[in-house]
Subunit: 215 residues, 2 copies
């Protein structure tokens, strides 16, 4: 079968093209099984064996995509956190970072899922490392709250672990069970950070104010 668009460049830009194709395919049909090697190479206009010149197997290809997405996640968090942190508002920065995490997960359901669907045993140091970037920024956000005196937590890393797990659960469950009557994400993040990290919650303060007025 003759391909309409033959491979043009003899550089290793093919590698990037394959990653682009895999990433966009993953975004469209967010089932990992639908993202087949033949679909990827078809989109680029090349035959299956050409892919194996750049990736050892499908898993390596997926891992490269995961690496890209983690980098994008890190950038999104950094961007969201920057402004409030510059103004010295540690709690607002932490909150913004958490919401950025959830927003990003919601906008890339297939991409987010694949980040953690990687098999246990074949998990790579690479993935661990990029994951820890997002985690470290969470630890940093909590430490900043401690230093600003708005968090009464003692172990920032242990608290960050719990917050991360909760965020991860929110990210996966809300995108997976869309029928469920979820409260707004902002509310849940607010309640979580208030309860677990101990930062002041505008929502709780507003409720207390209202009940005092009633009394």
């Amino acid at each position: 079968m003759n391909r309409e668009r033959r491979a043009r460049g003899h550089g290793d830009e093919l590698r990037e093209e394959l990653l682009d194709a895999a990433e966009s395919l993953l975004a469209e049909r967010d089932d990992e099984r639908q993202v087949t090697i033949r679909a990827i190479v078809d989109r680029v206009g090349v035959t299956p064996p050409a892919l194996y010149l750049h990736f050892a197997n499908k898993q390596e290809l997926v891992k490269a995509v995961v690496g890209r997405r983690f980098a994008a996640l890190g950038a999104a968090i950094e961007h969201a956190v920057a402004d409030p942190a510059d103004r010295g508002e540690a709690a607002a920065a932490l909150r913004a970072g958490c919401l950025a995490y959830l927003d990003w997960a919601r906008e890339n359901p297939g991409g987010y899922a694949v980040l953690f669907r990687v098999r246990r045993d074949t998990q790579l140091v690479t993935t661990e490392e990029v994951a820890s970037v997002a985690f470290d920024s969470l630890v940093g956000g909590i430490r900043a709250c401690q230093e600003a005196g708005v968090s009464g937590v003692d172990d920032a890393r242990a608290t960050a672990a719990l917050v991360w797990a909760s965020l991860h659960g929110l990210a996966t469950l809300t995108s997976l069970r869309t029928q469920f009557p979820w409260p707004p994400l902002e509310t849940m993040v607010d309640d979580l950070l208030h309860g677990v990290v101990g930062i002041p919650s505008k929502r709780v303060q507003a409720r207390l104010g209202a009940s005092e007025e009633q009394a």
Copy 2:
């Protein structure tokens, strides 16, 4: 090829045998892709088409297994909750239920993962229903804490949603990233229920006691 063990009974016990085989295969190799139709029927001693007499396709088979596991999860929670609830200790019952959820997830990593790996669009009412059984018992546990006066939360359902998401995140992340230095599950559940639901935490109380002694 002659099968060693030919199909014996002409009942629909074959259906149960297939479910058993699929469930045990899922427990051994906890990758859903490894649980192939041919592996399942091989274990039972039957040919692939025989499976389609009892299940429309592989997804229906997986869904039936999911239903079984959810039932087992519900039973585990009920059992863990029963004793403390009988003694009127609402907070202890809630805590026991959450820990039972996490224990069960840890003991059945493949089984737990498959519960939520079901595709968004093909998700069935059945799965939603059995899932809501576990969720309703969480709502009930929180309501009991409200009535016992050990929780200052106003909306039990909204709180339960956040707790459920957090538990789900803990269940998946701790089993997926085993290298990560997780705090003990008991500690995290304690912190979560203390912070989000507002029930008293033995750990926090102990820490406060210790710091008072130091002062």
